[in-house]
């Protein structure tokens, strides 16, 4: 088998294994719940019978490994379980399937993340590459000082500053990003503008600094100096000599930051009361609605693992040593 293929398959295998272990950890979290949990969810007034029924529904009367495989099987079929909320001591069950709660919010979060990435990735690459090329210029130093500062800001600080200036003092954008399934596309963009802008500011700083470091590292390679000494123009050095070797580091930078975006989205959604999966997760943590927390965590972890996987695969398939084996 071609070494590139072998390495990619190995990496995919590792990715699947990681997913498996991560799913196990997330599942195991329910095992760690204190014994009187059923009582806590259903309230003090719940009878022993309803608590027992609830425990049975959770499958707590079966061995853990059986429940794990059942859970994984259900997840693979799109069944994420049933929410804890909406249950009452009386045994009346108004709870909803987790999938129903998660699906529309996931869509909203993907919209926000996608919108941010569409602005942030090109902008960060542009800033990172240009500052690396004009290293130590005034342009480079000011961009660097600015990004070092932005990196240090908590997301909610950036968010509230934007709200203060762009929503409160100058009512240009709405400070609450309340959208629902019926919101028109352009209206959606308008309402999502501030959260997306906040995330962009945070992500661009990180991504730009990493891109700059990667490019500087690359430009210090002896073969780049050699290319200059053969009379190659700056343009040729960049496009023909640096770029073919830059895919792997750039893919890593982008994946790392998109993964960071996944986390950043949680805080930003809460600030702007944006109906996304991050806010859902925080609400569920507060109300200790474990099935929803598990589902959200699983979705975040899968995204995170997939992004890193893609970056590694790009690194593998652009590596000349693997592409052209001895």
């Amino acid at each position: 088998m071609h070494p590139v293929l072998t390495t990619v398959v190995q990496r995919l295998g590792l990715g699947i294994l990681t997913l498996f272990v991560v799913s196990f950890i997330i599942f195991a979290s329910i095992e760690l719940l204190p014994g009187d949990f059923g009582q806590a969810v259903l309230g003090q007034a719940a009878t022993e019978e309803t608590v027992a029924a609830f425990r049975k529904e959770l499958g707590l009367d079966q061995p853990a490994y059986i429940r794990y495989f059942e859970w994984v099987g259900n997840v693979l079929q799109g069944d994420l379980g049933t929410s804890f909320s909406g249950r009452a001591a009386s045994g009346v069950d108004r709870s909803r399937p987790v999938l129903e709660l998660v699906a529309p919010r996931l869509e909203n979060t993907l919209f926000l993340a996608g919108m941010t990435a569409a602005i942030a990735v090109p902008l960060a690459l542009f800033l990172g590459i240009t500052t690396a090329l004009y290293r130590n210029s005034i342009y480079d130093r000011s961009v660097n000082a600015a990004t070092l500062t932005t990196i240090s800001f908590p997301e909610f600080f950036v968010a509230y500053i934007l709200i203060l200036f762009l929503a409160s003092l100058n009512p240009i954008f709405p400070s609450l990003a309340n959208i629902d399934a019926t919101t028109e596309f352009w209206d959606r963009i308008y309402r999502t503008a501030l959260p997306a802008l906040t995330l962009t500011l945070v992500i661009v700083a990180h991504m730009m600094r990493m891109t700059r470091a990667a490019i500087i590292n690359l430009l210090a390679s002896p073969y780049i100096q050699m290319a200059r000494l053969t009379g190659a123009s700056q343009r040729e050095v960049i496009l023909k000599h640096a770029l073919p070797n830059a895919w792997a580091p750039i893919a890593t930078v982008i994946a790392f930051n998109l993964a960071y975006l996944v986390v950043g989205v949680v805080v930003v959604e809460v600030v702007f009361v944006y109906p996304g999966i991050g806010q859902l997760m925080v609400d569920s943590v507060t109300s200790r609605d474990i099935p929803v927390v598990q589902a959200c965590a699983l979705i975040f972890a899968i995204t995170y693992i997939l992004l890193n996987l893609i970056a590694d695969v790009i690194g593998i398939i652009t590596n000349p040593r693997l592409l052209h084996p001895k």
Binding site: L229, T230, A232, P244
Partner: protein, 532 residues
Amino acid sequence: MSQDTLLEIKGLKIQGFSDERWHDIVKGVDVTLKRGQVMGLIGESGAGKSTLGLAAMGFTQPGCKITGGQILFDGVDLAQLSETEKRSYWGNRITYVAQSAAASFNPAHRLIDQTTASTLRFGKKSQAEAMDDARALYGELNLPNPDTIGDRYPHQVSGGQLQRVMTAMAMSPRPDLIIFDEPTTALDVTTQVEVLTAMRKIVEHFNTAAIYITHDLAVVAQMADFIKVLRYGEEVEEAETRKMLTAPEQDYTKSLWSVRALAKEPMPEQEPILKIKNIDAAYGKVKVLHNVDISVPRGSTVAVVGESGSGKSTTARVITGLLPPSAGDIEYEGQPLPPKLQDRSKDQKRRIQMIYQMADTAMNPRQTVREIIGRPLEFYLGLRGQAAEKRILELLEMIELDGRFIDRLPGELSGGQKQRICIARALAAEPDFIICDEVTSALDQIVQEGILRLLMRLQKELNLTYLFITHDISTVRAISDQVVVMNLGRVVEQGTKNDVFSPPHPEYTELLLSSVPEMDPDWLTNLNAARA
């Protein structure tokens, strides 16, 4: 400027930025090079020879700047040109061959595309013509499969081949001047011969002028019409090659020969202090030593020579116990020595000491000389406080350093001083057997001589036994009593220095010895005639 002068450098000054200030690197050097001439540029580390070589192209490394003088190439002052204007010379009329070909080729492109890139950029030939020409050059440089080797990627060919491909790349645009920057320094001697032969042939064929930068006089003697010696960024002297070799004027230049003047008196036979018998060793599943037998007489110096991958350093690791052998025995003073380090007694560990190639990495940069030398004193001999201090001062005196060094950190010492401290640390244990692993390879010629003299003096005074691992034949000639030749994990030959160095030789010893450049401008010509 006469009609046939190609390059004229006048009063060139270059500064470099380090430690927050500007330092002079080149301090007013003149160069005159005629068309078709080859100039050898020689000097030790820090002499500014590479900086000067690059400056001949009008190029300065990042962090350096030209502060004075002219670089007249064919009448045009390169120092005054803009970057864009200089680029029309680079890869066109002036080309460059770097020291590390492996790092200097772009891993993402085929060799032939990189060979022809500058020729095509300046529109000198059509694509097909340039490709054909590159293949012809590969053939002329004796590369294997010249028609197809260009289709390979840099990591797919060996270091010696890569260096020749880089020479083809430099020759492809038919430049007026090629800068060779230490092109064979990283290669083994047997490979070096092939590369040197190829480079000389092609430079002569196209009558190209060249500047050949190296620290090795014997190598430059094969290439250059005349030689310029640099030291501390200034010219020491310049002369035609034969004259420079036979009658150098300056003391500094004469001292560059000095290591070859060192010699050791032959010594009477002694009983062996260390014997290793039928040793096999492996790293994981890769077997690196095959049936190695070495016997080291007490009070003598046994030199182990070989090229990279010969197993000479592995042999040292086996003796120290870091790599227990998979088969065979080690005997010390007639007693078996446990193969594993942790099974050896403190006294056994004390009696075998080691000195490393890189003094920089052999000493903890956070410990002072007092701690470095004091630790074995305390550990093996239980010396502390006043007694230890007194002994450290004695040891410093033995290695010809004075007591003020006692509170220094390694970073505050020069290369030669560091290696002396390492010697003192080994002596502190009061050993009788010292393994010297390429101890002079990282040092300048002149410092090497000092270290070798010191080692020889200490051997006489303390009756020490040395196992001296090296790839440098001239060092072997200078200091050894016995020689072990190794190749591909096997002992090729072992015997007294005279036996090994006088014919007849086994095939590999012959190849190795004959590949060592000699201070004779005709050496390479004669060697190739003899081998043909």
